[in-house]
Symmetry: C2
Amino acid sequence: MTLIVALDKPQSLGLVDTLCGVASGFKIGVPLLLDVGLEGLRRARSRCSDALWVADMKLADIGHVMALTARRLAGLVDAVIAHGFVGLESALDILAEECRRMGMKLVVIASMSHPGSRIYDKVLEDVLEVIEAVKPWGVVAPATRPNIIRRVRRRLGCSVAILSPGIGAQGASPGDAICAGADYEIVGRAITSSENPLQTARNILEQQRRCRRACREPQQT
Amino acid sequence: MTLIVALDKPQSLGLVDTLCGVASGFKIGVPLLLDVGLEGLRRARSRCSDALWVADMKLADIGHVMALTARRLAGLVDAVIAHGFVGLESALDILAEECRRMGMKLVVIASMSHPGSRIYDKVLEDVLEVIEAVKPWGVVAPATRPNIIRRVRRRLGCSVAILSPGIGAQGASPGDAICAGADYEIVGRAITSSENPLQTARNILEQQRRCRRACREPQQT
């Protein structure tokens, strides 16, 4: 399975039951966490505990503070997302160690999906170096720029999972990121604001499958 | 007044009464916010409502999501901290507009205090350009590197407030950042872990005053 659903509003937590077993996982971010608190997250998770739960904290602080945040999420999520641009020393090194200790997957952002991310792009090489040193479970690279996904895959090999946001509201189509080498596509509003979220999720999975076949063919010739 | 106290643990919220009227303001970060929730923040604030309350969210997301987070904090804090690194377009432009609409002060990070921030430093010029365009109320620059504080002040003039973390546990002394041009020094563990937090806060203020006199003298000759 290749679909992570980004839940963004308290109402969208109702979709956990509907999408459990269809989506690979669920991503929840800071706004929703402020709305429902750690207890709300615990309840949501308990309704689909085998899914991959990702806390999209966009951690970008000194290591000590990022580790404190990650510790609050222990047992509530399987993975936490942090920014690569904060660097290694006294930052991601401390967070990675804390994640290992807790058995939590660390996911590091290599690049973002919005137009303003040109600063990020400028230092992509440095960020990839940091990621190589951190050896996280996963990397975030934007579906809106498949070239970056390809570059991450070439550079970091197949031992890392690539998670791609930017599908739907931000412009990429389901399957684009998979085709470029991503493992999971993260889809939010396209599903959560849909009239029939279950059918939309299934359509996205079907589109991903079709796209994967199509993008594999030229590589096999 | 020139001292903002960084509260980091639920117990440290007890210091709000003690330090009210001595510190200019209080900064609370993500770990503590996860511990006490928005309701805990509301209660803490009500005990010293004239202070400057800063939510150190280290926002680093697309504009839409950062604005959602800021909206959750409306009425609870006076200011919110975001990263300059995420850039202007579809990021800080949207957040700045939302902050203006809500009457919330926006504080943008120009540089960080830890050793791993060399990636940030590499693009300092780009980040300062973004900050110039955003015109935030305040900028964060590290007390551990006073040269960066001086550079921010020269570049952005006196219409912007400079907030400096890194005093105490991270190595800078009280007054160092003020002397380099900062308006507020942010002090956490040196006060919150002190046996007598009120006395420590007063000592820091005294040290800042002495330092300000000392650093002004050569400029007057």
